[in-house]
């Protein structure tokens, strides 16, 4: 038994509280390890096996960050069969409203808005070969970020979770 409990030494000890504090520390340390493990797996973006994913529908395949970070660069790669003479992509406007576009490769010839869609029109390419467009952007909200991309027919929808 410690001296304070015997009333000999005024030190303001609280053995019961201290035991709770140690328990909190032990549980907290386990949570800290889980947090780091989630980070290693890519749950908070920035690389890791769960960080990126692909989706495809129709003639479009997209490769994107399933988990990204607020105000940090992310990349969406769209591979599709271009349609001559002017290949184009049609994006759901919600996606463009939620991000700051840094650059698009190859650069589109024109970009226009039509209702709830954003059209990207690219220069003509050889028919029959798939074309890859890379969009680099920074999300400016955190939470889920939804998007949809298509050409003329169907296209994949995607959802990213943006960490604060």
């Amino acid at each position: 038994m410690a001296a304070s409990q015997e009333g000999r030494f005024e030190v303001g000890e609280d053995a019961e509280f201290q035991r709770l504090a140690w328990r909190f520390q032990n549980v907290g340390f386990v949570l800290l390890l889980l947090f780091l493990a989630a980070g290693m797996l890519g749950i908070f973006g920035g690389g890791g096996i769960f960080a990126r994913t692909t989706a495809s529908a129709g003639e479009i395949t997209i490769d994107y960050d399933r988990f990204a970070r607020f105000s940090t660069s992310s990349e969406l790669e769209v591979t599709f069969l271009p349609q001559a003479p002017s290949p184009h992509l049609i994006f759901d406007r919600r996606f463009f409203d939620g991000v700051d576009i840094e650059k698009i490769l190859p650069a589109p010839l024109a970009m226009s808005e039509e209702g709830s869609n954003v059209h990207l029109i690219f220069s003509s390419v050889d028919d029959g070969f798939p074309m890859t467009v890379k969009i680099f952007y920074k999300p400016h909200h955190f939470g889920p970020l939804h998007g949809h991309v298509k050409t003329n027919g169907a296209g994949p929808s995607f959802t990213q979770f943006i960490s604060p």
Partner: protein, 150 residues
């Protein structure tokens, strides 16, 4: 508003992390601990400021952190339980010359730490000259020497 929320989030996160890591984490810092402390400061600084290096953002963040400090100290003063939760309680490690091994182990303190504190603060040479050793809320170890005349 965003910078104030960032400031509060970083403040709360650091508080929880330091409570988890225990009192001894940065109480008596070695050279390497000092380097870690600098890296921590640099890392949090980037998260706090983001890409906004304006003076007003700096003023807002400093005001946020200082206000949080003042409000917490007022809260701790009014409510002893909050004070205990945030700052912990002192813990006796040597009781009347006897090492309390279980407490030392849980607090990550060893006999050498106590001897260092005894040497530095009182010039003591041996453990049997220590009457009490207390792990304070600050993480430092205070020593009460035995009364040699007794």
């Amino acid at each position: 508003m965003e910078s104030i929320l960032r400031g509060l989030a970083v403040y709360a996160f650091l508080m929880v992390i330091f409570r988890i890591s225990g009192k001894r984490s940065l109480a008596e810092i070695t050279t390497f601990d000092f380097v870690i402390l600098l890296i921590l400061a640099e890392t949090t600084q980037q998260a706090l400021l983001g890409e906004d290096y304006s003076l007003i953002n700096c003023f807002l963040l400093v005001a946020t952190l200082m206000t949080a400090e003042v409000l917490l100290s007022m809260w701790k003063r009014r409510h002893p339980l909050v004070d205990k939760i945030l700052d912990g309680v002192p813990l006796i490690l040597v009781d009347n010359g006897k090492l309390l091994e279980d407490r030392m182990q849980r607090s990550r303190v060893n006999k050498d730490d106590i001897l260092v504190a005894a040497r530095e603060k009182h010039g003591l040479e041996r453990l049997d000259q220590v009457k009490y050793a207390v792990l304070e809320r600050s993480g430092g170890i205070s020593i009460i020497p035995r009364d040699e005349r007794a």
